[in-house]
Amino acid sequence: MLTYALTFAIACFALALILNLWRLATAPTMPDRILTVDTMVINIIALIVLYGAKAQSAVSFDAALLLAMTGFVSTVAFCKFLLRGGIIE
């Protein structure tokens, strides 16, 4: 049962990635695009965890954890750059 659930979940997140791509192509402004990439990071984190669960291995869990912890930094930096013209003031 869990295998089906995992396969379904993975398919959903993969679909989400495709939608991300669609949004990236059609986004009207830069902030939309940055947000899209941020969403993409979330989806990737989910995919890494799901694949780990499916393979019953914890070895890539740290990667997901680290991505969760640091993934937003790029988003913050991009936003700061757009708002202020520089990331460190």
Binding site: A63, V73, R84, E89
Partner: protein, 923 residues
């Protein structure tokens, strides 16, 4: 050890002038002379053993696997040269002390002189020919410094450059020749090579090796047609000329010819090349010397001529000729060094070296006149001086050599040499004295004593050759020929020897030539003569132009040009490899792929293509590259490479932060640069190379490796060899620790460079103004961000420490940990600003880099204490309840070095760019 110490002494002496110069020139000279004298004494201590026919050797292994060892040998030939180098070296030191003006940088001169002396001594004492090559190159370099010592004079600079280019090029050829020789002989030690005569002369490599070695020897010893550099090197201070061109530098080529005489000589190739080069040089240079007016130029051409004489004798290939060559090396060094010094004395006294403006100095400078007469007459080969003896021996050898042209040319050269020597003496010291601006007078003893000692030797050797020099010539000739030699040198051999009559003919002819001199001079001045310097300059100009054209053709600074050249080479080589070898079908099954990875890879390719298409919008391109990095990190995780995934994730974040900082100073769009055909061409090339790389990767992945891959070793040895379960980490910090060591140093240097560049820009008008026009909306330092990031910092550090500690056994390690720390700190910079972050920084980032390199080095050196090679790791298992068992590995300490270096480098670069990006107030 003793020989190595002797060879090292001049180099040690070269260090002293910098320290002793404050005590005055006398003390500085005495100190370096002490080193030369010590070396001389140590050499002399070996004389009895060498007289008994022994060879002293010292062997120190350096790189035994390459055949490169610091092996030294001292036999008769080396003894002769060592005595000349050190003995005349001592006289030169005294002479230079009084010759050079007080305004000259005397300490520097002494240092160059000692470096040169050490290099020369190294050449003659080397047993290993690779070691000899090292010293050979050192003489080229140090003589460059000496010849160009008066670097404010264009002539000195040009002369030095010419000498370096010529002897350096010859040295390159000689490297190839000696390598061939060692290859044929089966070893690079002279003791091996000298015993392999038959094998060497039978080898097909004999002729190429001979030609290359002769090229090296002829350029160094100024043999025609490479003689041109020597007269131009006369721009050096006179002590340098006296040293380099009488006893040392130019004799190095002859030394090599004599050293390799037993294995190279005796073949027709050797005979014809060496003899004719020597004979042509000897007669041609003597002829030119006759028409020169500068004292030093006459001596320069005379030196070239005498070097030709010695080369000629060595070329004959007989034992007696080699003995004569060795004897003339000794004689020439004594009278020529004295003559150079005397030319310097005359120059000092009269402020001119042009013999047309000189004359009548015999009354004003009687001591110099007496010394010059002895040395000049010896150079002319007048009995009873030593030059006569060796010239007689030369003529005797020439007389017994067919064809007839050889003795005729030899007599002719002797004739010219008598003529220019007499002209040198008569024009300078005899005749009417012109009106000198200052009345010339003899110099102090400091200047005339060194040539006087040499002149005494000239007379002593001439009168009692067997007692004074017989032993040395016997030893040196025996070592040169490899057979016991007992020379019989005497002033009078009776009326039978043809040499006597040839000598008389030479003297008579010389008087005739001098009588006809005005007519000859007019013909010479009227004749069209090729200018060596112009030819050399033209040659160099052509070389420079070709090199520039080649360089400009390959990379003219345009990145796309450089890429195109590189990629085309890759493509061509790849195609060649593919087409020239049979292709085996792939045997590995393809792995299955599911839906999500297909989507991810599709995303990766789309992002990559989009970044290419939209690269002119820089911010968007950066965002798209971010997506590529993201999918790449996920791919590493998916393909079971957690270490790489962790590294990629953190590297991506830091890269984007640094790129955004850099983007601060750049326009937001790239101008359109390529269009039309060029775009098509570049695109086609990129696609071709990309396809090639993909095909190569596919081919490799679907086939079994031809050779067992090294990964199996690393996996098997990770735990027993390095004490860690994580093979990736043990490879980085242990198996390939030396690579990592180099990499962290490079990383540190790169960060320091960024710092230095931005620092030098700060506060200058060149500082690029950051482009803040994009906007100043929102808060500079939003409170929410500040609060959140300050909470994140300790957590990030905890994760970093965790990743670091477990790195040896599970994914993690110093590199990732450093980046995680760096990200935590970058967040503080972004949220609270550079000022805030810098004010709270306790440890400077430079220190962090330095500490990292030091910790890594100390770990590496620590293994010396355990008696093992650099960076050998050691580990033990520890128990500390209630923790699980853990390892204590020195590799973890090394990893700490990596951590510090990475953290310091990233933060230093970031901080430097952030400082540069700050608003301009206060600058």
């Amino acid at each position: 050890m003793s020989l190595a110490l002797i060879a090292a002494l001049p180099f040690l002496g070269a260090l002293t002038p910098a320290l002793t110069q404050r005590f005055g020139r006398g003390i500085a000279t005495a100190t370096v002379a002490l080193f030369s004298a010590a070396a001389l004494l140590l050499i002399l201590q070996h004389v009895p053993a060498i007289m008994a026919g022994q060879t002293i050797t010292t062997q120190i292994n350096w790189l035994p696997t390459l055949g490169l060892n610091a092996n030294f040998r001292l036999d008769g030939l080396a003894l002769l040269f060592a005595l000349l180098i050190l003995g005349i070296g001592l006289l030169i030191q005294i002479y230079a002390r009084f010759y050079l003006d007080t305004s000259e940088p005397y300490a520097r001169f002494l240092t160059y002189l000692m470096l040169f002396q050490g290099a020369m001594l190294g050449i003659v004492l080397s047993d290993n020919i690779l070691l000899l090559l090292v010293f050979w190159e050192m003489t080229s370099l140090s003589s460059f410094l000496l010849i160009g010592f008066w670097s404010h004079l264009p002539k000195a600079r040009q002369g030095a450059r010419m000498a370096l280019a010529t002897t350096g090029a010859g040295g390159l050829a000689m490297i190839a020749g000696l390598l061939m020789l060692g290859h044929v002989a089966g070893g690079y030690d002279l003791s091996t090579i000298l015993g392999e005569r038959a094998a060497i002369q039978a080898s097909p490599l004999y002729v190429p090796a001979l030609l290359l070695i002769l090229l090296g020897a002829f350029t160094k010893s100024a043999q025609f047609p490479f003689h041109y550099w020597l007269p131009h090197a006369m721009a050096a201070p006179t002590p340098v000329s006296a040293y380099l061109h009488s006893a040392t530098m130019v004799k190095a080529g002859l030394f090599l010819l004599a050293r390799l005489w037993p294995v190279l000589a005796g073949t027709p190739e050797w005979f014809w090349i060496v003899t004719s080069a020597g004979l042509i040089t000897m007669s041609f240079a003597a002829g030119v010397a006759l028409f020169k007016d500068d004292l030093k130029a006459i001596l320069a051409y005379s030196t070239v001529s005498h070097l030709g004489l010695i080369t000629f004798l060595l070329g004959l290939g007989t034992k007696a000729a080699a003995t004569a060559a060795v004897f003339h090396i000794l004689c020439h060094a004594t009278f020529k060094a004295a003559l150079f010094m005397l030319a310097g004395i005359v120059d000092h006294a009269t402020h001119t070296r042009d013999i047309r403006a000189l004359g009548g100095l015999r009354r004003a400078m009687p001591i110099s006149f007496a010394l010059a007469s002895i040395a000049t007459l010896s150079m002319a080969g007048i009995p009873p001086l030593n030059g006569f003896l060796s010239k007689e021996m030369m003529l005797e050898e020439a007389a017994h050599t067919a064809p007839w042209v050889i003795p005729v040319l030899a007599t002719f050269a002797a004739l010219l040499s008598v003529a220019y020597a007499l002209r040198f003496l008569v024009y300078t010291f005899l005749g009417q004295a012109p009106a000198y601006a200052h009345a010339p007078h003899d110099p102090g003893a400091g200047l005339w004593l060194p040539p006087a000692i040499l002149a005494a030797l000239v007379v002593a050797i001439g009168l009692a050759p067997m007692a004074m020099a017989g032993w040395l010539v016997d030893a040196a000739a025996s070592a040169t020929t490899g057979e016991a030699v007992h020379a019989h040198i005497a002033l009078w051999h009776g009326l039978q020897p043809p040499a006597l009559w040839m000598s008389l003919a030479a003297v008579g002819g010389a008087l005739v030539v001098l009588g006809l001199y005005p007519a000859l001079r007019a013909a010479w001045d009227g004749a069209h003569k090729p200018d060596a310097k112009a030819m050399f300059d033209a040659g160099m100009g052509w070389l420079t132009k070709t090199a520039t054209a080649l360089t400009q053709g390959l990379h003219n600074g345009s990145l796309s040009r450089g890429f195109a050249v590189g990629l085309c080479s890759f493509l061509a080589l790849g195609l060649y490899a593919y087409l020239s070898a049979p292709t085996l079908p792939g045997t590995r099954a393809l792995t299955q792929i599911s839906f999500a990875p297909v989507v991810a890879f599709g995303l990766l390719m789309t992002a990559a293509l989009a970044a290419t298409a939209l690269h002119r919008k820089r911010l968007l391109a950066l965002l798209l590259t971010g997506i590529v990095g993201l999918i790449l990190s996920a791919s590493f995780a998916y393909l079971s490479a957690p270490d790489l995934a962790l590294t990629q994730i953190t590297v991506e974040v830091v890269t984007i932060a640094l790129m955004l900082l850099a983007l601060n100073f750049l326009p937001k769009t790239t101008p359109r640069k390529t269009a039309g055909f060029r775009k098509l061409r570049d695109g086609g090339l990129a696609v071709a190379v990309g396809t090639g790389v993909a095909a190569l990767a596919y081919t490799l992945m679907t086939r079994e490796a031809m050779f067992p891959p090294i990964s199996a070793f690393h996996l098997a040895q990770s735990l027993p060899g390095a004490g860690g379960h994580n093979a990736v980490n043990t490879i980085i910090v242990d198996f390939r620790g030396y690579d990592t060591y180099g990499e962290i140093i490079v990383l540190g240097i790169a960060a320091l460079l960024i710092f230095a560049l931005t620092e030098s820009l700060l506060g200058t008008r060149w500082a690029v103004q950051p482009d803040h026009a994009a906007g100043d909306e929102g808060d500079a330092h939003p409170v929410m961000l500040q609060t959140a990031t300050r909470l994140i910092l300790p957590m990030a550090m905890l994760v970093g420490v965790y990743l670091f500690l477990r790195g040896h056994n599970e994914p993690g390690g110093g590199f990732v940990a450093g980046l995680v720390f760096a990200i935590g700190l970058v967040l503080q910079y972004i949220a609270s600003g550079q000022d805030w972050a810098a004010a709270r920084r306790r440890i400077p980032y430079h220190a962090m880099i330095g500490a990292g390199v030091l910790v890594a080095s100390a770990t590496g050196i620590g293994s010396f204490l355990a008696g093992r090679p650099f960076l050998t790791s050691n580990f033990t298992h520890g128990h500390l309840p209630p923790l699980k068992d853990f390892e204590l590995a020195t590799a973890a300490l090394f990893d700490l070095g990596v951590f510090l270096c990475v953290l310091g480098a990233v933060m230093l670069a970031l901080d430097a760019l952030a400082r540069l990006a700050k608003p301009q107030e206060g600058r």
